[in-house]
């Protein structure tokens, strides 16, 4: 039996399967309520954007999430819209380093 080449077996998108679901949140902004928003909050909490002790997140795009999105967009060099635009969603879905983005105290700019 001829087995398919390894490269043809893998059908995973070029983004993480877990984070792939964030695609459905495209264009969501403050006040919206979309199933799966709580997972995005978990993502932001993990990477240092939602420093909330209560991790029982809801699916509402609330003020805290908006602040997290703005901070994320600033930290990742994206246009700051406060919304889940395509650039932001695409960056969120990209594979990344597991270090938190908010373990820093000193932001320094080039002279």
């Amino acid at each position: 039996r001829i087995l398919p080449d390894k490269s043809t077996v893998i059908t995973v998108d070029a983004h993480n399967a877990t984070w792939h679901e964030f695609k459905r949140l495209l264009d969501a902004g403050k006040g919206s309520h979309v199933s799966g928003m709580s997972e995005l909050k978990t993502y932001f909490h993990r990477f240092g954007y939602l420093p909330i002790s209560d991790t029982n997140f809801t699916d509402s795009f609330d003020t805290q999430l908006e602040s997290a999105v703005v901070l994320y967009q600033k930290n990742l060099g994206l246009s700051v819209t406060g919304k889940l635009d395509s650039d932001t969603i695409s960056t969120i879905m990209s594979p990344r380093c597991g270090m938190s983005d908010n373990a820093h105290a000193l932001h320094t700019t080039r002279r």
């Binding site: 995973v12 993480n16 399967a17 877990t18 984070w19 990742l76 960056t91 380093c97 597991g98 320094t108």
Partner: protein, 192 residues
């Protein structure tokens, strides 16, 4: 560039030598150890070319300053890996020295021979994580090595001005390093 809280750095005497070793029990089997050693040697040498720090491989894993390994899922440091893509690797700030890569990734050094859509360039991730080991946190400069995300089948191994200025502010400059060469290479890549 950005530093961790408290701006931690390695405090060895100058000229500084940091040793690194690979975990004898936590490696991947589809890349040879010599291939992995070459990848990390190149990654360390990039940082060593800009700061007065030497990196030397040692066989003694437990006593090495920097300890490198490939791990799956929950591996005991409170930062479990998540399978294919997602989180690729993580490292700890100075002077912890742990550098962990997600064993579930399709690591490669050659995209011509590995056709998987989810293949990840080991050298790019190694170079990024060494930056953390040295004391750099994530930058917002997309072109820089210390930017937090990396798409599959993408190579980003050359240090950019943001990376160099950040690490040199911690350790000083390698006397043989010339900023002009970096500017020239950035300009030529921008034109390309």
């Amino acid at each position: 560039f950005v530093y961790f809280n408290g701006k931690p750095r390695w405090l060895h005497t100058t000229p500084m030598t940091l040793t690194y070793a690979f975990s004898p029990d936590n490696m991947i089997d589809y890349m040879s150890i010599s291939e992995i050693r070459s990848v990390f040697k190149r990654a360390f040498s990039r940082w060593a070319s800009v700061i007065p720090v030497n990196f030397t491989e040692t066989e003694n894993y437990l006593s090495a300053n920097i300890r490198i390994g490939f791990y799956r899922g929950d591996h005991g440091d409170g930062e479990p890996f998540d399978g294919v893509l997602g989180v690729l690797a993580h490292a700890f700030s100075p002077e912890n020295g742990r550098l962990h890569l997600d064993a579930a990734e399709t690591w490669t050094v050659d995209f011509n021979s590995v056709k998987s859509k989810v293949a990840v360039d080991l050298e790019s991730v190694a170079t990024h994580e060494i930056g953390h080991v040295l004391g750099l946190a994530h930058t917002s400069v997309k072109e820089a090595v210390m930017y937090p995300s990396l798409s599959p089948r993408t190579k980003k191994v050359d240090l950019k001005i943001d990376d160099v200025e950040g690490v040199q502010a911690l350790y000083g400059s390698n006397p043989n390093f010339k900023f002009s060469s970096l500017l020239e290479s950035e300009n030529s890549s921008n034109h390309a």
